[in-house]
Amino acid sequence: MIPGVDGLWTILQTSPLFWLAVTLVAYQVAYAIYLRAGRHPLLNPVLVSIGLIISVLLATRTPYPTYFDGARLVHFLIGPATVAMAVPLYTHSERFKHMLLPLAGALLVGSVTAIVSAVAIGWTFGASPDTLLSLAPKSTTMPIAMGITEKIGGSPSLTSLMVTLTGISGAIMAGWLLKLVRIDDVATRGFAIGVTAHAIGTAYTFQLGEVAVAFAALGMGLNGVLTTILVPVLMRLLMSH
C-alpha cells in the first residue's frame, strides 16, 4: 500500500537521513545566497543556514534533539577538521616563531578583555549572577566553554548560547571592525578573530587565506587553554565586588 502524505511525512521525519539532507541543502542554499550577495557579512552562511533549519524545525514542531540525531554525521566532522588545523599551523610555524612575545601579549590582553567585557556589560544591563557566570568563557569553543561554566557553577546551556552569539557576531563584524581600526595584516586579523570568535570565526578566516586560518587556529587554541585558567581566578575577583 502506498502511504498518504501524512504517512510519508512520518517516514521522512523519523529518518535520520532526512535531517542530514535538510542540513546539507540548507547550507548549499545559504552559501549560494552568500556568494550571490558578494559575500555580504550579514548573510553569513552559518547564520542563514540555522535560520532556514530552525524555520523548518519550528514549522514541523520537531524538537532539536530529533534534528541533531540526524545531523550528527555533519557535526562529527568538526573533530577531524580541528586535528587538520595542524596543517596550516605547521606550514606557517616559521612566522609564529618570530613573533612569540607579541602573540603572547595580545593573547593575554584578548583573553582578559573577552571575560571582563562580557561580565561588565552583562552586569551593567542587569543580568542575574547566574547569567554573569555563564557569560565569562564565551570566546572559547563550545566544549571548553561549557566545561568552564560547569566548574564555576553557571548554566552550561546559556553558555552555549553565548558562544554561538559570539562566534556569529564575530564573523559578521570582523571585516568592517578590523578595517575600522586599520588592521591590514592578515596574520594579525586571523589571530584576533581566532582569539575572539573561536571556531565560527576561524571558519570565516578561510576566505582570508591560509595564513589567516593558521593564526586563527593558533589564537583559538591558545585562548581555549588560557581562558580555562583565567575564568575561575577572574570571576572570584569580579564576583566579590
Binding site: V83, G122, T124
Partner: protein
C-alpha cells in the same frame, strides 16, 4: 605507539602518492582515505589522553598538537594530509551548523534577559577583537623598530 601508526599512515600515503603520480590526475584522490584515517585516529588518541589525564581541553585539540608534533618529526606535511585537511577546513562552517542550531533551545531565555545577553555577546566581541588586533600590532611594531 598510536602516533607512530598515524605517522606511518602519513608516510605510506606519501609514498603511494609519489609512486602514482605517473597515472596523472587520479593520483591524489585515493590518498583521502588514509589521511582521514590518520586524522580520526589522532582525534581518538587525543580523546583518550584527555580522559586519562583529566585535561580541560577537547580531545581534537590534543589531536591537533599530536599531528603538529608528527609533522615536526617528519619534517613536512604529506600531500594527502594537506589536501584532505584543506577540504575539511574549507567546509568548517557547514560542520558547525548542527551544534549552532541548538540556539533554538534558548529562545525563552533570550526572551527573558535578551538585552544584557545580546549586548554582552556583541559588545564584548567587538571590544575583544579590536583590542587583541591593536595590541598585536603595537607589539609587532615596537619589536620591528630598531
Amino acid at each position: 605507539m598510536a602516533i607512530e601508526t598515524a605517522l606511518s599512515t602519513g608516510y605510506g600515503q606519501r609514498a603511494r602518492t609519489t609512486s602514482r603520480t605517473t597515472t596523472a590526475g587520479r593520483a591524489k584522490q585515493p590518498s583521502m582515505v588514509p589521511a582521514l584515517a590518520a586524522l580520526v585516529v589522532l582525534e581518538l588518541v587525543g580523546e583518550l589522553i584527555v580522559r586519562i589525564f583529566a585535561l580541560p581541553v577537547p580531545g581534537p585539540v590534543v589531536g591537533l598538537v599530536l599531528l603538529y608534533v608528527a609533522f615536526t618529526v617528519h619534517g613536512s606535511v604529506p600531500d594527502g594530509l594537506r589536501a584532505t585537511g584543506n577540504v575539511l577546513l574549507q567546509h568548517l562552517m557547514l560542520f558547525l551548523v548542527p551544534a549552532t542550531t541548538g540556539l533554538m533551545m534558548h529562545f525563552r531565555r533570550l526572551g527573558d534577559e535578551w538585552l544584557p545577553i545580546v549586548l554582552a555577546a556583541v559588545g564584548g566581541t567587538a571590544v575583544t577583537m579590536a583590542l587583541t588586533a591593536l595590541t598585536l600590532r603595537l607589539f609587532l611594531g615596537r619589536r620591528r623598530a630598531p
